[in-house]
Structure formats: structure tokens, C-alpha cells
Subunit: 325 residues, 4 copies
């Protein structure tokens, strides 16, 4: 076989061991499995393409049914997804291919045709991530504390960062800065900083809008705010956001979670989390940033099985009143 | 004076008379005045820069207080905003200047420094518009029906397009297509297709999130939907959206409004509205699309009076509980 | 037959012609039909029992399927629902049977057993109505203006009263008084004053909570308010509520609707609507106020087919995510 | 002095020590202090009247400013609130004085005149409580586990009962039964069962409506539900509600809190909490149930300083847009 095989107990590996060695991640399971696979590359700027099979109920992130596995792998390999040319495959469908002008993002639909020619049924969806770093009250960078098993300072999230009071009976008080400027003091259960991909996860439960994954943005959604007027916000992906634990928290600690994994150490007064959207860029034929997800293209004519609309159906979006048919 | 002066009763002019002749629009009044000024260019792809003074209470769109007029005009002229070089001025602050990578939109804050050098206190914010066209049930293009006073088929909206049942006691039924694919059937008072700029207008009242004007996107917000699960959606700006009046409306007509102006003819069964985000592009030193708004930059050190944050304060965003101070 | 038969074209009758002559109203159709039947008694304090069959899709108000008509009528007649004893039947299930103390309303479930003995499958649900009167700016009482076809000043609503700007492009401004005291100025599309029965109608679309019909209360729900902090309110049923058209409306008129029927004349500046919950009382074995609805009791063991829970299912309340089973 | 004085460290007492010995509870502090004082009687059916002074910022429950203390005490004593006649004082203003008919609850305003004659400026507001009991999976009653410091099985809550996943990364799954019938399976952060008094506390943060304290009802409000369609519910106060921990929680435990105090033991799969509104009844001149709160009546003419409206102002309810005046 032309590719190396690694063996051993994956749990004993450092996640860095994967970086640069994996050409394709294949997941079997639900959204949790995909998030976990993504988290193995949380400290890396480069994430290999991900091919996800749902094994039972469909999730929002995974698109392929296991019965389709032959077609799925054929698509991947015929697309030239061999190691050395991997990145070239992703290129046509990267969302921010803005050569046609400044309007930024073309709709998912409009980029479908470019992906792999008319005979291909797969596309690559680049999911933006958050770039996260944490700092002590004195400005010292903090390690990720177990999330991502990494000593690296930058971590990435595919869904969201959450600051939450957990089981503490007192409300969390978090100062929110946007672009270096104080925006507001959030009082409540917590705060979510989410990607568009994460807009159908915890942000949705907290009242956030549903954002298409190709809208280059960051969501700021409060969790059970002690305010009648804290409407969720959507900011440009490049906006630097800082969440600082107010000294009104009086020595208490708040839980920090990244993509559903709680940081081993809670955060105390004065500590802060800085978040911004990960930059996706191309240099010398290779892509940095984002999680390239191999997604299906619909029926025989390829006329329009948009996974996002299918995901809305899973959410029972705008379900009509009345009896079951 | 080196520039021509036109006189006459503006209300008797066709809006086309303005196009190409106006180098700078100055408004005195609130958001309604700005929307009206913008609507004079609803049928044009090119909108001259807009400088807006609030005369009483501050609005969300206008940023300058009248007392600042000297500084405001000085900024405009010193920036070189003479007719022949106008577009050059806008260039540095156009949001989608993505040379630094593919992440699309840089935050408002991060582009501030580029605008006119450190000595300048003004920036240009390009507000995306919607591009709207209407069609009869047989596919014939319809004129704008009084909105924009134009026979042109494409109209532009700075805030939103609204389809509403008006005073009709029956609920509106609107079929929503996204990227050419059926998404959902909206039953309720109506539907809003909004720009990020319009996210603080009617979409906000209808429960939509607040979207920063530099997030390249289109909002789909239902008005009083007959559903528990019609969460507002945010799509990429380039997504083609079609709203079609279902034949379940049974011969009734629905009101169509663009930026607050109701189309003289209502829409009937089978008629449809097609909307997409206007493309902003540059060619030969000149910019097409969008409404260039001249906005303030804060205090003496220019350190950060972001108009958007100020607008949130006007909305009484996340207003804390308790007594008035 | 021991009862009189009236014939003729119902549409030419005054609604007063029905009052005192009808012992049982039977409706065939959906919620709209039931609302219409109820509106025929909008100007009367006494409403005969209502037996409602759904002919197609189930509604929220009607409970009987047409195939059950034999059982339904048998229940009504065996219950002694002959004209002369009609009111006695309703007594056991009137919600405010508060002999057990001051806690007010017993749950629907707890009163089920009292209704007609263990062998009966029907119950009577007394639906509270709103009592509505309108006044000119100078305090002169206004007629109902076509709603209820009545010259009487008091009208009753089973669902709600709505003040709405209709197709007017300007926002409605309504001053809200509660218990004679100014509460707030509502700015938006309009205001809803709703019964608990109406909480699943327009109030639901406008973001109101779902209130069980036996919670003695009035709902104040804004329609698309120009505010981030106008949370819906629920007040005691006896609270006097006044909605007054602010002179900020500048001569414009607002639409007034009662149970879905628009008043022929719109309301102008200074006019006001006064609303309170209709009092349900018993005197000399007869009941005044409320709409007595004959509702089903569930399966063979009568163990618990609560119509309200069934209604929630029709609303697709808390519909779980995931694929259709 | 004609009344006994107890001294000692209150924290070492059993809460039962207070019961029957306290004639008037006076609190100095915010809502938390009032909740704490109320919790001292959580295991008692009879709660002495409560007079609450705010020491700094006004809360939603306490009404008196400390500077008013002379007037407040004078009102209490002149009203005859001596120990032996205490209950007589409360009578006139008990909300469910329904002699005028079955409509149940008269508005706060309408009962104001009855309270203590026109020369009195105080009223008593009976706040309904929840009656709560907990059971093991095998049906064995559980002790309150530290909440209320009591071995008694029934506990009472003035604000709410909360079941919450706390810091557990998995969503809580709670089966909700209403009136003995399965209503729905709640999946999310948790569930709130609240009194109307508690409607401005955590339920408000979770999206619930604002319910006037005299609406005899129970609120069911989900916390961050994993559903687009879980609208908050309001049920009659007498409705038996059961929350059961689904075995889908897979052995995990959920936090249970009563009026902000977390039960020392978490709850496991199969355990359930049963809640219903406390019955308020009068027997032999004495009142059982509810928390009698002595509230202010407004200005010189007593014409209408309704504390509830004042509370809405604290919440910044329907705060108008625009600049600060």
C-alpha cells in the first residue's frame, strides 16, 4: 500500500501526532463524533478533509449514509484526493472565492457547479472555525487546559465556545468587548460565541437565528440573560471578540467549554477569552484554516439536494400545524 | 463654482434625472430621510456617497450631529471626494477588500485604520442592498409599480422587502425558495427579506437577530408566523431567494413594500418576487453597488467610537435591570 | 317535536333574534366556524352550549369528529341538556367551583370527575370571554360598528381583540392602561388583548405563551413591537384594560378586529377600547357569561384524553428533532 | 414588651423552630433576602406576614424603602396586625375573595379599596407558592435534602423549582406529566416550574411571559430546549405536574433547586418531582397557604402606585428606543 499505517492506542497519543500525517478523516456516528474528530485538530491550522457517515439517525453535520460508502469513497478518490494533491481538490468550492467581485460569499447553490465537474456528486464545504486563546488576569497566556490535549495557545472550535455558570447558583457576569471596544455586560447563565455551523447547536436552544455555514460571521448569543433586551448578535468573522470575567463575579469561577468539552480548570475573575474567526487562506496551492467537509450532492441530476435545507427539516423548522398526515 | 447647480421641484423629476449627476447626497433628518434618499437611487447600480445629519433624536443610520457639519464636510473634501476622484476615497474601507486572505470580511474596527490615514476622522461604510425583481404568474417581468418611480425591472432596497397581508383578515401563504430549491411555506402576516442594515428595522420587531452591516448576508424573517418553529434565517448575500404567492391565498392580494414604500399594485396568486444581495464590485477605479455612507470616527484619538455599538445603545440593547441612575 | 323550528335566511337576521331562542349550537367546520357561531352571541351575556364537529382537519377549539356524532348527541341529551335544565348540566364543570378554598381554579383534570358522573364521556368547558366597549375621544360610547351586527355597547370576544395598523406604513402608537393606571406606550404593528382560549391564535404567532383555558386571565401581547423589551403580559381576568390611540398617530386610523372580524370603522386618535374579562356567575340555577363548550372525554376508561394536550400536539408543540419515524 | 424575644445563632436553629413563633418577618435587603426569609417557612403551611425593606437598589419583591419604615410599621400595627388578630388583617385583600361571582380573581387594583379602609396605605398581597415533593424511582418519598433544612416531605417555593443539568455536558431529558397525563419530553438545559411571582426571575430569562402575581397559575418554562417549538406554558394553579428523569439520562444526575437553593443530592434516573400550586384557604378566621406580603399603596390620594407596574419599570419593560433624556 502506498500509504503508511499507524497503529496503537489513539487515546495515548498526543493530538499533535496526527497533524500532518492524516490525509482524510472518516467518521462513523453522529454530530458528536464529527465534533470529536474535528477537536483532534483543534490546535492545528490545517485540518484534513472529513468524510462523515451517519450510522443511525441523521445529524446536522454528517451527510452520508453508510450504505453510500462506495460512492462516497469513489468520489473522494476520483477527485484526486491523494495526499499530494489533496488541497487542490478543495479549491473550487471554497466559499470565499471572490474573484467575481466584492460581494463576498456566493451562495452554496451557486458554487455547487464548480466543485468537481458535472459528473461529480460530492462537494467540499469549508466550515469556518473560531480561533480561541485564553489569558490570566495579568495578561499571561493560558494553556488550553485539557481541551485539545495541547500546550498550544491557540485552539479552534467548529461549533462554539461557551462560558457558563454551571451549577453555581449565582449569575455569571461577563464583559463583552467587540473590536477592542466595550460592548455590554452580560449577566445570566452564560455567553456563547458560535460559528455559523454552531448556529444549529446550543445557540439555537438559546434563541439564536439559524445562520447558513457560508455566511462568514461570528454569533454572540446570551444564555438565559437577566435582561429583556439582549437580542443575539451576528458579527463579521474577522471581528476580535473578548469575553472577560467581571470582578462582580466575586471570586467565583465559570466553566469554559469548547465544542462541548469542558476545560479542566474553570476561569476566575479577570481572566479573559479572546475569539475571532479563523482566517481561511490559500498559499502555494495549499489551504490553511477551516474544516473541509465532503458533502453530498443530490439526486441523479444533481439538481439540488442542499444539505442545509435537509438539516432544517431535521430541526422541524417551520413545521406546519395540524394532524399528522 | 466648479459644479453645476440644478433647480426645480424635485418631486416632478424622474429619479433617473439624479443618476450620474449627483456626487454627494446630504440628508438632514432621521432614518426615514436616509431611506428616502437611498430610494431615489433604487433603480441605479451606482449610488453617490451619502452624508447624513440627524436634526433631533439620533437614528440608527445617520451618524453626524448637525453641529459637526464643518468637520463632516471638511472630512469629505479633504478626503478628495471631489467628483472625479470620488470612488478612490471609498476604496480603502470597502469591507470585502480581502487581500489578506479568504476569511472574507474584516471587522469594522480592523478596517478603520485604512480609511483615510490616521489624521482622518471619517470612514465610508458600504451598505449592501437587495436587488429585487417581480414577475407575474406567467413569468412576465413586472414594473416596480410606483416604488422608485421607475420602469426599470431591478430595484434596490437598503433595508428590506416586505410581503404582508395588510388589512386582510386571512393569513398570507408564501412559498419560499432558496437557491432555486423549495425551502418552506410561510403562513402568517408576511415575510421579510432584509439586508444587515435592515436588521434593526422591521426584522428586529419580528424577532430577527441583529446583524452587523458588514456581514455579507440576507435575512429571512417571518412576520407573526402561524408556526412555533419558524426561526429567522440568515443566508449568504449571493443566495437567490424567491417568494411566490401560493394559490392557497385564494385570489386575495398581498401588499409588497420596499424600504417602507408600498407598491401601488398588490400582488396576486402566482406572482413572485426574486431577491438577491446586490453585488459590490470595482472596475477601473469605480465602484458599483452598495450605498456608500460616510460615518464618523470617534474622539480625539480616534480610538473607537464605533457607530454600530452606538446604535445598539439607541436600541436599549441589553439594558440592565434596576433603578434609573 | 317539542321544540320550535325557525327557518329563513340567517344572514338577514339580527343576531338578537337568536338570543334566548337557541338551546344548543352545533357547528360543523373548523375553528373559524366556532368563532363565527360564538360571534352570533357577541352582544349577549348568555351563550347556549356549543357542540362542535370538525369536518376535516382538527382545530384547536372543536373536539368531536363527525363520526362520533351519535355519541356526542347522546352525551348531550342524557346529560339532561334539554332546554329547561340546560344550565344544570354545566354547573359541575364550571372552573371556578372554589368551595375547596381560595386557590381559585382547579385544574381541568381535577374537575373532570365531577362533570356528569363516571359513565359520561363529555364535559363542559366554560371558555371565558372578553367584554369590550369602545369610546370616542370625548368619552361618548361607540357602537360596535358592524362587529356583532349590534347596536349594543358591550361586545364579547372568545379569542381576542386586535388593534393593528393594517396597511398603514406608520407604526401604531397605543397607550396601555391597566387598572386605570398608565402602563406603557406600545409602538409597533399593534396590540392584542386575548383570552386564554385565544392564546393559541394570533397571540401565539406574536410570541405569547400558551395559556390553559382555565387560567382566569387576560393576555396583553404586542404585535411586532418597536422595542427589544416588550415581553407579553398575563393579567388577572378581572383587570380593567384600556387601549387608547395616542395622538402621536397624527390623524391616522387603526384597524380594530374582534375575533377576526374587522370593525367597519377604523379608530382615530383619542378613541379608546376598554376590555375586561367577562364575569362568569351563577344566579338561581342559571349561568351568565362564558361560552359553554361540550368537549370530549377520552378513551373507554375515561382515563385522560385531555383536549388541551391534544391541541398542543396539533400545534407541533415541542416537536423533537430528527428524522420522521 | 408583650411579646417574647428569642436570641441565639439563627443558623443553628432548625427552621421548625420558627414556625408558630413568628408573627411578622421583617427583611432588610433585596429579593434574595426575601426569598431566604420565605424559605425558612418552606416546610410550613402557614407563613407569617412579611414586611420587606430595600436597602439599596429596589427589587421586584420588596416594596418599602427603608426611609419609610415608620409609616410601614404604623400601617402594620394600626391595621391590627398584633399576633392574636393577625390573620384578620389579611382577609380583605386576599385575591380570591370571589363573592361577586365565579370569575375568580379580581384585579389587584379592584381589591385595593378593600384592604384597610381608605385611610390605609398598605395592602397584603398573598403570593401563591408551589407545593413540592420528591420521590425515588421506586415511589419512596424523598426528604428535601437540605433544602429548607427539613425532614418534611412537602416543601414550598415562592419563586420556582428548577431541574437543571448544571455542569453536565449532556442535555437533560425530563418527562413532563400534567394532570397525570404525559405531556412532553423536555430535552435541554432543564425545566422550570414557577409561580407567577417567579415569572420575573429565571423563567423570564428563559423566555417566559410576565404573569401578574394574582393570576392563579403555574408556569412551565423550558431552559434552552433542544427544540424550536417548546413555547412556555401557563397552567391552572391546581394542576398536578410531575417531572420525571427519563432513563435516557443514562445514569447521570441532574441538579434540583428550590428558590435558588440547590438540593444537596442530585436526582437520578427514575426519580420524580411532583408540584402543584399551594391551596390558599381560610378556616376559622385564619389563613393557610401563601406568603402574605405587606405592600405599599401609592401617593397621597392612594390613587394608584401599583407595585407590579413599578416592578415592570425595574425590568426596563418595553423601554423605548432613542437617546437618553
Amino acid at each position: 500500500m502506498p500509504f503508511p499505517t499507524y497503529s496503537g492506542d489513539i487515546d495515548t497519543w498526543s493530538t499533535q501526532d496526527f497533524h500532518g500525517k492524516v490525509d482524510l478523516t472518516v467518521t462513523f456516528g453522529g454530530d458528536g463524533t464529527i465534533l470529536h474528530a474535528s477537536s483532534l485538530f483543534a490546535s492545528s491550522d490545517i485540518v484534513p478533509p472529513m468524510l462523515s457517515f451517519s450510522m443511525g439517525t441523521l445529524g446536522f453535520l454528517g451527510e452520508w449514509k453508510f450504505a453510500e460508502y462506495k460512492r462516497a469513497f469513489r468520489e473522494v478518490f476520483m477527485s484526486g484526493a491523494a495526499p499530494e494533491t489533496r488541497n487542490g481538490v478543495l479549491e473550487p468550492s471554497v466559499p470565499t472565492e471572490t474573484s467575481e467581485g466584492g460581494s463576498g460569499l456566493a451562495g452554496w447553490s451557486s458554487i455547487r457547479g464548480k466543485s468537481m465537474g458535472s459528473s461529480r456528486a460530492a462537494r467540499v464545504l469549508m466550515r469556518n472555525r473560531l480561533k480561541i486563546s485564553m489569558f490570566a488576569a495579568d495578561g499571561t497566556p493560558l494553556s488550553s487546559g485539557g481541551v485539545g490535549n495541547s500546550s498550544q495557545q491557540h485552539l479552534h472550535a467548529m461549533n462554539e465556545l461557551i462560558i457558563h455558570r454551571g451549577r453555581d447558583p449565582h449569575l455569571a457576569v461577563v464583559e463583552v468587548f467587540v473590536g477592542g471596544r466595550f460592548l455590554t455586560e452580560a449577566v445570566g447563565d452564560g455567553m456563547i460565541v458560535s460559528t455559523p455551523t454552531g448556529s444549529t447547536a446550543y445557540s439555537l436552544s438559546s434563541g439564536g437565528s439559524i445562520i447558513h455555514p457560508l455566511v462568514s460571521s461570528i454569533l454572540l448569543t446570551p444564555v438565559c440573560p437577566r435582561s429583556l433586551s439582549f437580542r443575539p448578535l451576528v458579527l463579521p468573522a474577522g471581528t476580535p471578540i473578548t469575553l472577560k470575567l467581571s470582578n462582580k463575579n466575586r471570586g467565583r469561577e465559570l466553566e469554559v467549554s469548547i465544542d462541548g468539552v469542558r476545560r479542566s480548570e474553570a476561569m476566575g475573575v479577570g481572566m479573559e477569552v479572546r475569539v475571532t474567526g479563523e482566517e481561511i487562506k490559500r498559499s502555494e496551492g495549499s489551504w490553511h484554516g477551516g474544516v473541509p467537509c465532503i458533502v453530498r450532492r443530490g439526486g441523479p441530476a444533481g439538481e439540488g439536494d442542499d444539505g442545509w435545507v435537509g438539516g432544517l427539516n431535521l430541526l422541524k423548522f417551520n413545521y406546519p400545524f395540524g394532524e399528522e398526515s
